[in-house]
Chain length 232, copies 2
Amino acid sequence: MSPRGAAARERADATDSAPTELRAADGRVPGRRGLATRQRLLDCTARLLANTSYRDLKVTDISREAGTSPATFYHYFPDIESALTVLAQATADRGAELAELVGEEPWKGTVGYDAALRLVDGVLVFWGENAAVLRVVDLLAKEGDEGFRAIRTRMLNSTTRALSDAIVNLGDKGNEDVDATAMAAVLVSMLAHVAEHQPGLEAAQISVDGLRESMARLVYGGVTGRRVATPR
Amino acid sequence: MSPRGAAARERADATDSAPTELRAADGRVPGRRGLATRQRLLDCTARLLANTSYRDLKVTDISREAGTSPATFYHYFPDIESALTVLAQATADRGAELAELVGEEPWKGTVGYDAALRLVDGVLVFWGENAAVLRVVDLLAKEGDEGFRAIRTRMLNSTTRALSDAIVNLGDKGNEDVDATAMAAVLVSMLAHVAEHQPGLEAAQISVDGLRESMARLVYGGVTGRRVATPR
DNA sequence: GGCGATTCTGACACCCCGTCAGGCCGTCCG
DNA sequence: CGGACGGCCTGACGGGGTGTCAGAATCGCC
């Protein structure tokens, strides 16, 4: 029906716990030189994606940018989506580290609000640096692509879990009856969406500082069930 | 460089306050029959978009589905994006009505939480019904397309403003120092993002009811600055 | 029934896709 | 040093989508 089939297959491979040794189109394992051009293709894909609409991203352009022929691209990737999968994996791995910003200490008072702000800033920066890849991951996940959905989930799961733990660890009466996982997921969604649309929101005359503070308040409130004591 | 130019032009037209009378490719105003096939093309575009990845949406398929030739499509739209613009406009107009769910009464106590829940449910339903178009609008807005960004902003602005008014009208001490617009924008972002990814979140074992309640809590908390009194 | 206006489309040139078979080039062995 | 082997690359091609004409088909009206 569409090139989906092959892409899904490679993506499944890439998802395996033991990453099946990398194979080129001819089934052989690439050597040093091959891996280099493969990486070059990935870099060019990422670079082009930053300046091109996803719909207009062409294999032709990628390979031209990389100084090779289109056939070379197909030697290393069954299709564009597979290259994107690899980029998405790498990005997601780095994104998973955002969870560390949640911290270990219980979110009491100022400690909590500071942690919230740190998380907000971390997300904004990370999304700013990886906007191009992240928006494609987001689209494909929404379109129901299982592979990209899994990548996205894995990327956000650690942060979601960290927040969920923070909620449970607090054991506060104010929010002991919330579904901690759901609340954490909602908070992460909020962070992701604002980060994704930050340029658009700015263009609509909404102050970035205001967004930051609002998000931090909501994260703090969502985790602790309490209002912010002294936001400033 | 790309078909962007023509698309941007038509989109600009569509944005004009006085919608320049509709023109076909030959510059003439379509009659009854022409408008009918134009509409048929739009319907087929929407239908296909629901089952096809955005990247795989082809003029060929749309026109085949509509029982005409590709040339006919180009008679009414300079490119696919322009057809999507029209669909997006219509969807956005309906989406703007979500603002009514915020209500006029001040968000004190149960009234407020009920309003929050009503809004949450409204957003979830609306996004469920228009997922295909909305995700493309979202992508193109993120990619920096001014036309789609404007459509999106217009769609969400009324709800954002309504929430912002609700915050200000409360005049509560608990949140009088928040940037009401930013807070409202963040809340709307949260609603939109969870709604967009609802299927994915469900697939990740996150309960829809939990999401609903968490969002309602955050909306209530964001607007009033208070914790939820009796969530159940 | 015929005529002009409207609507549609066949045909075409162009470009991208995806896939071979075969060519290039480093390097290792004799 | 020369040859040959293996890993790497690409020219070339069939298939199909894009976008644009000129002109054919259809409609509505006299």
